[in-house]
Subunit: 210 residues, 2 copies
Amino acid sequence: MNKIPQATAKRLPLYYRFLNNLNHQGKKRVSSKELSEAVKVDSATIRRDFSYFGALGKKGYGYNVEYLLGFFRKTLDQDELTDVALIGVGNLGTAFLHYNFLKNNNIQIKMAFDAAKEKVGTDIGGVPVYHIEDLEDKMTGIKVAILTIPASEADGITNRLVEQGITGILNFTPARITVPDHIRVHHIDLAVELQALVYFLKHYPLSKED
Amino acid sequence: MNKIPQATAKRLPLYYRFLNNLNHQGKKRVSSKELSEAVKVDSATIRRDFSYFGALGKKGYGYNVEYLLGFFRKTLDQDELTDVALIGVGNLGTAFLHYNFLKNNNIQIKMAFDAAKEKVGTDIGGVPVYHIEDLEDKMTGIKVAILTIPASEADGITNRLVEQGITGILNFTPARITVPDHIRVHHIDLAVELQALVYFLKHYPLSKED
DNA sequence: AATAAGTCGTGATATATTTCACAATATTAT
DNA sequence: ATAATATTGTGAAATATATCACGACTTATT
């Protein structure tokens, strides 16, 4: 089952969300062409992506929205809830806390940490904010963390997270953190994204979108 | 000159920032191996990336930090300033406004727009906030926009940006916006990123980082 | 001066991803 | 019923990216 290409895996949450929208709109069937226009992914790519999970559609018909949705729900473990901790309740962190992941997703931000006294003890978007000192005490059992702290804090906090037994980190700091091999880190660097866009605009005019 | 792979282009801002750090630390030379450890990119990939720009290093020595930095400064148009407008001054938008892009970068957020009266007229991180109604009036000459608004607003605002003559959009809304072919859109979907990380953790244990 | 160690640049290869294009099948229209 | 149209699933080809591995050259060491 581990033979799904990573590029495909990255598109699954996107497909899932759009199928959910269609379902709410009461749409019963959808073709790869329609889906392609909605999510801006080539229709052949969509069919190929789906095909890794078997023959989910019907020739000449398309895909049954409800069936496909149900299938992805299982595949993406939408039943199983994943608890996440957020470290750093600045503007970016707060944006995450207000994002209602539970609405469509299988992810729940269970707690947040910050060093600022005025934030500790509050509730943001229903998520309690604890002091960063209490990380080890409070975070038992949580395997995924979102890092929205200043770059200068990244290494120190990362080490504590590793110590605590984390398995995945979504790193929004510009620092490229070092972790043992068994821990997965995804980097999202807002400045790099913006710079890359500007670079593409200057050097790859008129090309297709990313 | 347009033959640089996109994957390489996406890493350039990253290299640039780390070279800048090294330079500030007073380091004179650096090898692809050292750089590899810092930015977590395979050293052969780094050498290949650099090689698209010619022979920038010296065999047996490595790369001269200052020279390489100067080279990238030119290549990445670090001299030329790109003005950017930010649409939507919520938590995510505010995070961007506090990010000091000018420090290391060639990008300046020149203005921001929001619909909330209490935000209009203020200055956040040195960036003036205008009312979204005034978008067409104020935004003349700006070619790049960051979209940090609710998904429901995405299509409407996008159309106005297209009308106004935008060429690039960094879209943080979950909506996949539709634009004419000559406009480049990069999507960053925070929920998708988090879901993808969780999916990888469950289905691709122990693999290398992304 | 000779040797050892370090490092680049790159041809070749491996891996990953996307896209084409079409047979097979389902639906719709007449 | 029949023909026309729509759409999947996938082999094959194309494209894109990453990695290996080594000759050539530089620097450091003895």
